[in-house]
Point group: C2
Chain length 390, copies 2
């Protein structure tokens, strides 16, 4: 067996041809997170006439607003470069380049996130929310993409399930948080953009949250699975989905609970079930917790889209005040409402709270800076998860 090709040669050959010649041949580092937590972006394009960075880089401290558009300048070799004017707070950020006005992701950055129907480049300044967003040397839970059958819709549907570290071997039963996405989102949103697994791993490891299962379903009744994961193949994501806010989802939701409780080691009482959602998911959490008043012991409404539409004769909204009254006869252990000061849904949340106040229903209210934005929802999850099942 005298074969004189070495691993070094393999490595060389691979870099030319293999795994489909997809090694990144450029040496451009972008984004570069500098020692002071400012960020430098680079982009090679000799022929472009203007390149700017557009991202969600507003500082966590509202007094320090960093311009969202960073104009890059080109050196003699055609390499564009631009940096944030100040350090960025630890967070997960999204951005894109605009090259002569045309949006493109950063070709030097392999990390992207799809939010609804748009792909953006992302980076993480370790470590947001007091170290909750990074992958640290702590026990890690598992994330599973599983399918359940909806008898009502007569279709298989996909959901994401986080099981905490030790689940496989502990033999214990766990409480469950049902965590819902917003309009246009899907069952991947909370685990990707929401850093839900990292937040839970880190909170549980520090003893700040109880070990729990987190179920992240798809809240679009006409979408069995996230774009790219269903029979629709890799088609353009459909952002105009019917039946997302007409009561259909609330009707089929108990099938998800039944599936989870039949297939996972769960605690099956109201005090061991929580539901929370962002935007449209907050709408769903509100109505599900109201329609099944004995199901959810904890309710979280994150930047919630609160639209009672009883004037349109949708059964979901019929007798809404009576149903909420019934819900609060045997009230949830926690009814938690959070919204950012700049959220376009701020007023409607204020109005909804005034209705709860008028009836004397007990809830906890948290108001944050900024608006309808993922970093608020990550923080809300981190706060809410610490309050559950205690």
């Amino acid at each position: 067996m005298k074969l004189f090709i070495t691993a070094a040669l393999l490595s060389c050959a691979l870099s030319l041809s293999a795994q489909q010649a997809l090694f990144n041949s450029s040496n451009i580092v972008s984004p570069q997170i500098n020692d002071d937590a400012s960020v430098t972006f680079r982009y090679f394009n000799p022929s472009a006439e203007s390149v700017k960075v557009v991202g969600d880089f507003l500082a966590a401290d509202p007094a320090v607003v960093i311009p969202t558009d960073i104009h890059m300048s080109k050196n003699d070799n055609g390499l564009w470069e631009g940096s944030t004017a100040t350090p960025l707070a630890p967070e997960l950020y999204s951005y894109a380049f605009y090259v002569d006005g045309v949006r493109t992701i950063d070709p030097a950055n392999v990390y992207t996130a799809r939010d609804i129907a748009t792909l953006s480049s992302i980076f993480l300044i370790d470590d947001g929310c007091d170290g909750l967003y990074g992958v640290h040397d702590v026990p890690h839970g598992s994330l599973s993409k599983v399918w359940y059958h909806s008898d009502i819709l007569d279709v298989d549907r996909r959901l994401s399930v986080y099981t905490p570290a030790g689940y496989e071997s502990s033999g214990r039963n766990y409480p469950v948080l049902y965590l819902l996405h917003g309009m246009g989102g899907d069952e991947n949103a909370w685990s990707e953009l929401g850093r839900a697994c990292q937040i839970l791993d880190n909170l549980i490891a520090r003893g700040l949250a109880r070990p729990m299962i987190v179920v992240m379903p798809n809240g679009n009744v006409d979408m069995p699975a996230a774009p790219g994961e269903s029979h629709l193949g890799l088609s353009v994501p459909n952002t105009n989905l019917p039946h997302t806010m007409d009561g259909t989802y609330e009707k089929v939701f108990p099938e998800i609970v039944n599936f989870v409780e039949a297939n996972y080691r769960t605690r099956r009482d109201k005090a061991s079930r929580a539901i929370a959602g962002l935007s449209m998911g907050g709408f769903h959490a509100l109505h599900i917790s109201k329609d099944y008043p004995d199901m959810m012991g904890y309710v979280g409404l994150f930047s919630s889209a609160i639209f009672p539409l009883k004037e349109e004769n949708i059964p979901l909204y019929a007798d809404m005040e009576d149903k909420i009254a019934r819900q609060f006869e045997n009230p949830p252990l926690l009814y938690w409402i959070a919204i950012g000061k700049d959220d376009f849904l701020y007023d409607i949340n204020t109005h909804y709270r005034s209705l709860l106040d008028a009836k004397g229903y007990d809830y906890v209210y948290t108001e944050s800076a900024e608006g309808h934005i993922w970093r608020n929802w990550r923080r809300y999850l981190a706060s809410f998860a610490q309050l559950l099942f205690k």
Copy 2:
């Protein structure tokens, strides 16, 4: 509760601002798979001077070679368009645009795949390999990302586990295929680029493969998890990993088997274990099956990097012929070798087969068209999986 904002208004507001204003504002459809299975690409960029598409569009029929570079032409509105000259065979394809020589993914296509350190746009012509790559109306297995502890390396490591439809409720024990990636790959490669879940779902549903668990570990001993999933955060993927082909992985591999057999309902005999890998993973499969001759009943070497380096005094290669002789004393039920005619590893595979032939060891050989390319590995998996555990 008189709130007159409607869901339509929410939808409108969301399209402007929410989920971070990341609805795709353009109406450009790209790629467009035409009725005749030709593909049209579109890209809006008024200022660009040349745009071409570079992809892996070689036809499945080697007589019909489609140019890999498609030069696009610009209309008066700045919209570039170009199409493949002929229909494409059903497959999963990767491509990028070169805009005045600068590589970029297709901004209108949210589907991408990272292969090692490069991101490409992808599309699927339904349905490759006789309908094995699409998500069809068949029972679906689950895909889990789980962590196990390596005592030898003293670190938590991540792996992907496919469990077949019905696993949760059947109570049965299942055979296990260990499926290994190539150099620079990771535990996500087979489930993303390899369509492993779809291939297994479809084969099992048609009765062409036995229900099995598929374990897809990370084969880089210095990389606990895929880029973006470890403590390294969203840093530039490291493509120069030490200890990938020096015998270390073969030493720690039994820890993976032990973890899987302790945490999943598995059949735990040689006839119920298979190992296969592509390129570097084929190297690993060869050495693991040789070093633990009682472990693996089925061995698949896909475009395998076969580099016996005994001249470098690496213990892995010591007594290699003797070890293979021992392996074939109680031979695997199947020793399956596949490679493409154009693969840069073709000669070394031919040489290895001649060594097996000289000893009279039994194996099955499959030769395909093309080279070191993912569509070969998907097809090899589809073929190999049908031969297992029968």
